[in-house]
């Protein structure tokens, strides 16, 4: 596992070990928490198997489209539930306070959670791609598979930041409710489970303001379902959204970690 480059920790072996140890602890803890792994692993795979494969007859021509957008929704879970609900639960349980008085840098704490979200996203994506390749009839050029995986994994980052800005502000039970609402709102209104063009005009207009919609479009471009004319705008929107979330995290930082 790679240590995050942002902290310059590579120079200090003790610090690197600390980062790695925290990551390992975080991944293990997530793995042992059914409330985390059921929604993050079972739900996306089950949804895709049911709506993307079992309920679609062969010859729909929508196999690549379905995988592209369901893949973005699969990245939503680990990011929102791990960061949003997770940080809030840690704070309520006093674990966050304990870690704050220990000599653990706050960077390690956040990096461990980000890496956990990425690892679980990777696991769920491997399962999705295996299903898609064996039962879903998805066939893509090799570069398109790689581009799709890149978009899907990258999707984790802005959603982690969104989850963190919720987790810093809400208590544990509120955070679970809010992140669940966000999960379904982002997935449905972002057109990740149902193509957007079936929605009424006003909902389509509303959807334009959701990062999930733009990540969905980027995934469709990566899977070569859609021409890439809009990727500049879509990428800029996702980047802008991530910056807005970073701002929200900074504003909530002091109060949030206590």
């Amino acid at each position: 596992m790679n240590a995050p480059a942002s902290t310059g920790s590579a120079a200090n072996p003790a610090l690197t070990a600390l980062y790695l140890r925290e990551m390992r602890a975080e991944i293990l803890r997530a793995w042992r928490t059914p409330a985390y792994i059921v929604p993050t692993l079972a739900l996306p795979v089950g949804f895709y198997a049911l709506f993307g494969i079992a309920l679609a007859q062969p010859g729909s021509g929508a196999a690549a489209r379905t995988l592209a957008t369901f893949g973005v929704s699969a990245a939503l879970g680990p990011a929102l539930f791990g960061f949003g609900a997770g940080i809030a639960a840690d704070r309520d349980a006093g674990i966050l306070a304990l870690k704050q008085v220990s000599p653990l840098p706050v960077g390690a704490l956040l990096a461990a959670r980000l890496v956990t979200a990425l690892v679980f996203a990777l696991v769920v994506l491997v399962m999705l791609y295996a299903l898609a390749a064996t039962a879903g009839g998805v066939e893509l050029p090799r570069q398109a598979w790689a581009a799709l995986a890149l978009v899907h994994l990258t999707s984790v980052v802005p959603f982690c930041l969104l989850g963190l800005s919720v987790g810093l502000r809400a208590g544990a039970s509120t955070a679970i409710a809010v992140t669940n609402l966000m999960f379904f709102g982002l997935a449905v209104l972002g057109g990740l489970w149902i193509p957007l063009f079936v929605f009424p005009d006003w909902l389509q207009k509303l959807a334009w303001w959701l990062p999930s919609r733009h990540l969905g479009e980027l995934a469709l471009v990566a899977a070569r379902v859609q021409p890439g004319a809009g990727i500049g705008t879509q990428g800029a929107f996702v980047g802008g959204f991530a910056l807005a979330c970073i701002a929200a995290v900074c504003l909530g930082w002091r109060r949030g970690l206590r």
């Binding site: 679609a56 729909s60 491997v126 893509l140």
Partner: protein, 440 residues
């Protein structure tokens, strides 16, 4: 150290998995044709004429021999063809492919569809399958992809994003973009205001743009087919060099010169009586849904479009345009003038459904004046010839073994196409899907 080993191992597994992921055409390359068979002593409609008491040998997904008392290779299954007629897999020359449409089409013996507007991504994904000779559970797709229409024109109302155009100068680039997207031909919507003052409730391309599009398609060696519903635009489209009209004109069947013009221009017409009559309030849908030969195989989606629970209220201008009998008269005239007619349904528009409506269309074509043999050709060899589908629409050595075996003789009673005994796609038997009765 251990962390790096684990990380390296995981990375190696992921890269290996990446190489294992399927690439376009993999399923088609790896699939094997179904075992062959012989149909004995069957009446064969070969796409053009009837050959009584014939044997047909199928192997490796193709028809390999057609004749009397054939010696088949050992081990092939024998199928009794007595009292039955073997038809080439049917071709619906006007559909729109969405959802399970291709699966539903094959369930009724339609083995190839000519799609007149759908999502280009669907076309790209399904193109490799039509080259295969392996078992398949859906009809093969040929498609126009996106359609050429004006901003706000017909085709833009369904929600699917459509690249529109409005000027002749845009035509070349528009056609090039469709070909790059995977369109097999160019479909143009032409509904200009009539000289009688009749204006359709949506915008239309102008005549100069229509002409430029047809010319651009021809420069790229693609067919240019035109959606019209009235005789004046039909005349203009034919004069501009359209290869075919994908609806018959429904407004003025008194005009005899139009059928002659179509004949002189060697254009074809896909009348789509099924949808035109449905719009005129004479849908064949309820009759088809009640036919005991067809009903058990209708999916809930097919039922929903074949017999809509609520008929959308039609715009008054459109309601005046569509008439149940005038298109029938026009088809009769076109047929007498020797114009190529193609059987197409425009499924799944209201009053029609994929697959099943082609059987209704065949009956309507016969009622409009075609012989049953001509109607069968309109759903087999004629569309294959006009759209250059090399190995489809015929039963002869080398043809793709897309076949439909029916009871009786549809060359005398066209409704016999509904009494399906067996369907083969690429020489593999199709297990027809039956649905539980939906409580009628």
């Amino acid at each position: 150290m251990r962390a790096w080993l684990i990380g390296g191992g995981v990375a190696a597994v992921l890269v290996t998995a990446w190489f294992w992921l399927p690439q376009p055409g993999d399923a088609v390359r790896h699939a094997r044709p179904a075992p062959g068979f012989v149909v004995r002593e069957v009446a064969v409609f070969d796409g053009e004429r009837l050959q009584p008491d014939t044997d047909v040998v199928v192997n490796d997904g193709r028809v390999v021999a057609v004749g009397h008392g054939l010696q088949a290779p050992a081990g092939l299954a024998e199928i009794d063809g007595r009292g039955r007629t073997l038809l080439p897999g049917l071709i619906d020359a006007h559909v729109h492919t969405f959802g399970n449409g291709l699966f539903d089409a094959l369930n009724f013996g339609v083995t190839t569809v000519l799609d007149m507007f759908t999502d280009p991504a669907v076309v790209r994904e399904l193109k490799p399958a039509r080259e295969a000779f392996a078992p398949s559970s859906h009809a093969d797709l040929y498609s126009a992809g996106s359609l050429a229409t004006a901003p706000g024109g017909h085709g833009t109302e369904f929600g699917l994003p459509v690249p529109t155009l409005s000027m002749p100068s845009e035509a070349s680039a528009w056609v090039d973009a469709r070909i790059a997207e995977g369109s097999d031909w160019i479909k143009i919507v032409y509904e200009p205001p009539g000289s009688d003052g009749l204006t359709m409730p949506f915008a239309s391309l102008n005549r100069a743009t229509l002409t430029a599009l047809i010319q651009a398609a021809h420069r790229s060696s693609r067919l240019a087919v035109v959606h019209v519903t009235r005789s004046e635009p039909a005349r203009q489209a034919l004069s501009a060099g359209a290869d075919g009209l994908v609806h018959v004109y429904a407004d003025d069947a008194q005009d005899d010169g139009l059928a002659e013009l179509a004949a002189a221009k060697h254009a074809f017409v896909t009348p789509t009586l099924s949808v035109l009559r449905a719009f005129a309030g004479e849908s064949a849908g309820p009759d088809l849904a009640a036919d005991p030969e067809l009903a058990p195989y209708l999916s809930p989606e097919q039922r929903a479009t074949l017999v809509p629970a609520v008929w959308r209220r039609m715009d008054p201008v459109l309601a005046r345009t569509f008439h149940a009998d005038r298109p029938m008269v026009a088809v009769g005239r076109l047929n007498r003038c020797g114009v190529d007619l193609l059987a197409g349904t425009d499924a799944p528009n209201p009053g029609t459904a994929q697959g099943v409506s082609l059987h209704g269309e065949l009956e309507l074509l016969v009622r409009a004046g075609l012989t049953p043999m001509q109607a069968l050709a309109a759903a087999t060899s004629v569309p294959a010839r006009r759209f250059s589908l090399q190995d489809r629409g015929h039963i002869r050595p080398g043809s793709r073994a897309d076949l439909v075996l029916v009871r009786g003789d549809p060359t005398t009673d066209i409704r016999a196409t509904r009494a399906i005994v067996a369907i083969w796609k690429n020489g593999a038997p199709v297990e027809r899907r039956r649905y539980a009765s939906t409580g009628q």
